[in-house]
Amino acid sequence: MLPMITTEAMSIDTNYAHPEALVSTAWVSEHLKDEGIRIIESNEDVLLYDMGHLPGAVHIDWQRDLQDHTIRDYIQPESFAALCSKNGITPDTTCVFYGDKSNWWSCYALWVFRLFGHDKVKVMDGGRDKWIAEGRPLTRELPHFTASSYPVPPVRRDAEIRAFYDDALAQSRSKLPLIDVRSPGEFNGQVTHMPEYPQEGVLRGGHIPGAHGVPWKQAVNADATFKSAAELQKIYQTDLGLKPDDEIVAYCRIGERSSHTWFVLNYLLGFKKVRNYDGSWTEWGNRVGAPIEKSL
């Protein structure tokens, strides 16, 4: 049986649309050993988990574990069930995600879990950096969980929270909200990837015509925690003019930063129709014939 989660105890802004989707480092610290909770680390840095992780946390790598390695797509439901089983996760398990880079990849992993219908998900606010900054313990000891029985999800719910190229193109042509969450230099076409960062191999710079540039970073504080509900409302609703019932598509370069914004819009602001275009700029910027806008 899960402990009662009170937002007050979590130090989480109760004005978020779904404050229960966010837990504090203090809350996680108190619930590391709870049955029914699985702590999941997902990082950009592929060896970071091995350098030390939260006690009892399992590692799910966005590429190794969540991607199909023969076609550009996510794993199939059978593989998702196997991944969960291996980590002792059942459909009733509450998965608490955390990681590096202000929780980019934890939001990405959470979003993939949602693709397979696993809805009991939370993010640890501030991620790995905040945990470490507070002097909380890390371990290199690998946890061992008895394999669980996780039924193969009947479908992958792409249509609900995932956008494809054609969806993004239709969004652009219909002048519906498209949010480009990359850095300003990537948005205006000056660069095709972040400075000093792995080049994912994109041939053209710029953005999808009509997209609004709202870098993901606007949604976080210096300590990697999410900004308050009021601050987020100002960014996305007051300044950008988005409405909770708008059909919104967010994208970045490969879908990780836009997962972060998807989490903000979906869980913290309560927008109901937000999709993440995971093909993002590496697909759009390479696609023959795809229209591109620059703002140099």
Partner: protein, 181 residues
């Protein structure tokens, strides 16, 4: 990139001679490659972690002076990675590296490996080292998962070596011109 002091002509000649020898890997790097060659992927990861743990040992020591330094910071993603190069009296290069706290573990590991493995070889030889040793060290899985990250620091070090060589050649040409005038 900042540069301190100049290099005499003699070292340019040494670089030239050294390049003609066409060695594949310097012996210190070869020893590290051999160490990794016998390890499984899991053991490779453990060994990389050990090298990453030692990355701070490769930072500049107090009082050290460098011939070239390349410091770059990226607030959006990685972090500051500073590469320092010092040339000894025989033309051998010695790299030092400082890494910001957000720099990836693989880059930390590679900084340890490359500072040790490339120690004492000339900038020309640094440039001529084929990058194909990297997969032998980090293993096929990590190369597949993070294909660019694993080459990052080698690329930065080669960039520093290249700039140093270009400056030496330019300096050499200017001196030749002065003599002929």
């Amino acid at each position: 990139m900042g540069q301190q002091g100049g290099r005499p002509h003699r070292e340019v000649a040494l670089i030239s001679e050294s390049k003609s020898s066409r060695m594949s890997y310097p012996h210190k790097l070869s020893a590290i490659i051999e160490l990794f060659a016998g390890l499984s992927d899991a053991e490779k990861r453990e060994t990389l972690i050990s090298y990453a743990d030692q990355a701070r040992l490769q930072e500049p020591k107090e009082g050290e002076h460098f011939d070239l330094e390349d410091v770059r910071k990226d607030e959006e993603c990685t972090d500051t990675v500073a590469v320092f190069l010092r040339l000894d009296e025989k033309g051998g290069g010695h790299f030092r590296v400082t890494l910001g706290p957000q720099v990836q573990t693989l880059t930390r590991a590679m900084s340890s490996i490359l500072c040790k493995g490339l120690d004492g070889i000339t900038p020309a030889d640094v440039l001529s080292i084929p990058a194909d040793f990297v997969p032998k060290i980090v293993g096929a899985e990590l190369v597949r998962l993070r294909s660019q990250t694993v080459y990052y620091l080698l690329t930065r070090m080669k960039g520093v070596a290249k700039v140093w060589l270009q400056r030496q050649r330019q300096s050499s040409l200017e001196k030749d011109d002065a003599v002929s005038e």
